[in-house]
């Protein structure tokens, strides 16, 4: 089977310092993977490499069996949706107008949005449960609501693989769990391949069957949560007592 995402020996250097060193892994279609690791481990850089916006100094990156470096941006965007970072919108935009931006990679340059695009936007809004926010100015929403709008945008993109960078960072506990349940549902029900950078080890191990642990630019562990988050590793990589993580994990 062709891997959804395949990295082979990826190394990224910036100003003489290695940010990623020899990272290799495969993500099969339909998998749900969390990228974890301390600050500065290279998680966000890895996402940028997968999305093809950062070209590695060495190694190969393939999306659906093709090198991402040789694809044009539109092709990448139809295979891979990245949930955007929160940003200040320059103009007043309604929630549904923001979500509709997810259709840009599918739109014809001249004709614009077609009925199929509008249907995909409607479906994404229903899927994420944004019905109550329609018509609102996206700039006036809470951070948590905006996060959901950006998630809906990525869902509307209808790419087989979804990339998320800290999707729960602005959310309170209840909304974190709801967002995680939504992501699990997108993965299990719709078959979307999911790769998420997560800070919260408890959420990651509760909701993701596979974890990739990065430390100082190296992939130091790849497996199920119990395999990856051994007591020794939590101590070594994160520098905290394993109890802190365990306690949090059992509450889910």
């Amino acid at each position: 089977m062709t891997a959804a995402v395949w990295l082979d020996g990826v190394t990224v250097e910036a100003r003489g310092r290695a940010i990623l060193r020899d990272v290799s892994f495969r993500v099969e279609p339909g998998e749900r993977v969390a990228l974890i690791g301390p600050n500065g481990a290279g998680k966000s850089t890895l996402l940028r490499v997968i999305a093809g916006v950062l070209h590695p100094n060495a190694g190969r990156v393939e999306l659906g069996g093709e090198p991402v470096g040789s694809m044009d941006r539109g092709t990448v965007a139809r295979r891979l949706a990245v949930v955007p970072q929160q940003t200040a919108l320059p103009f007043s935009m309604r929630v549904e107008e923001v979500v509709a931006l997810g259709r840009l990679p599918h739109e014809d340059a001249l004709r614009g949005a077609q009925p199929a695009d509008r249907a995909a936007v409607a479906a994404a809004i229903d899927r994420v449960g944004l019905g109550g926010l329609l018509g609102r100015d996206a700039r006036e929403l809470s951070l948590g609501e905006r996060q959901l709008v950006l998630l809906a945008l990525a869902v509307a993109q209808e790419a087989p693989t979804l990339l998320l960078d800290e999707p729960t960072v602005h959310l309170d506990l209840r909304h974190q769990v709801e967002a995680m349940e939504l992501m699990r549902d997108l993965n299990e029900r719709d078959g979307t391949t999911l790769i998420a950078v997560l800070h919260d080890l408890a959420l990651a191990s509760h909701f993701f069957p596979r974890l990739l642990l990065l430390d100082h630019g190296r992939l130091v562990a790849d497996g199920t949560p119990p395999e990856v988050l051994s007591d020794a590793r939590i101590r070594e990589v994160f520098g905290v007592s394993p109890e802190l993580v365990r306690l949090a994990a059992t509450r889910g």
């Binding site: 840009l104 340059a109 949005a113 995909a120 479906a123």
Partner: protein, 359 residues
Amino acid sequence: MTSGVATAGGTGARPWLAARGRDRRFWLVLGGILVALAGAVLGVAFGSVSVPFGDTVTIVVDKLLGTHLSTADAATQAIVWDLRVPRVLLAMTVGAGLAVAGATFQGLLRNPLADPYVLGTASGAALGAAIGLLIPLHFFVFGFGLSNLLAFVGAVVSITVVYRLARVTGLAPLTGLLLTGYAVASLLAAGLTMAMYLSGAALRQIFNYLLGSFEQASWERFAGALPIVLIASIIIATRARSLNGLLLGEQAAAHLGVNVERERPLLLGLASLVTAAAVTVSGLIGFVGLVVPHIVRLLTGPNARAVIPISALWGAVLLVYADLIARVVGDIPVGVVTAIIGAPFFLILLRRARTGYEL
């Protein structure tokens, strides 16, 4: 593609899906065309010399259809056909161009206060054109001379400087952009003053760049500006997808399939070209690019696919009427009229930006 979630009656049940006012866009286009036509008629009919309306009509009909209905004398015919008609057409072309350039700069810089005048792009074009006048080197390729070329260079250089500096000042984006634009425009204004000081015989011409007026309108100027404004605006309109992606920032745009590295210089270059074309034929006319796209966006939403063409239309409308006002009031420069309309508008936007605009 997708199953018919919304197609099978769904769209009907979700009226919000029919983008912010498809109806509204239709009326804006239809209304714009009618108001522009009315403005054109008024613009040709009125002026410092009064020409009976019947004569105006017959002169225009004669020229267009090659008939000989008009009984007016040659001077009157010249006033109508060689002064007023090109003046109206030029005002429309420049208005459309400045509005498109403003909308494009706003999208690229992600800033509702960007405008060729505010950013100093227009001053850059004016300085380039003035330097072109001073250099005793005359060549023309398809009617374009050194002044046109240097106006474009001036516009591109000044927007590039503003664009790059505004991103690295460490100030809030809005403040950084406005301050950089102000500093660049001041420097360019000093350059223009210097050019005027050195100009001798060309003083009057350089002074005209500063004024912003259609006094010098002619068929030649119209023919010089129209193709550039038209073609560049059409290309910008076909890049609507890129401008829409940039609403979310350059990173997100790249993830949405926009080749930012290619689109940014292309769009900056095209908008500079339009600005330069407008400035070389009419001088510095401010705030059209600020006021028009802003109001259009309020009515249609921020989708560039609607904003660009509708802004072009209403930019044409704004300048035709502003020029009419300028002439009726007593031949004041049209730049004064747009400044009187535009500067308070700019201040209101700035005030709102402080409260409602999270940066």
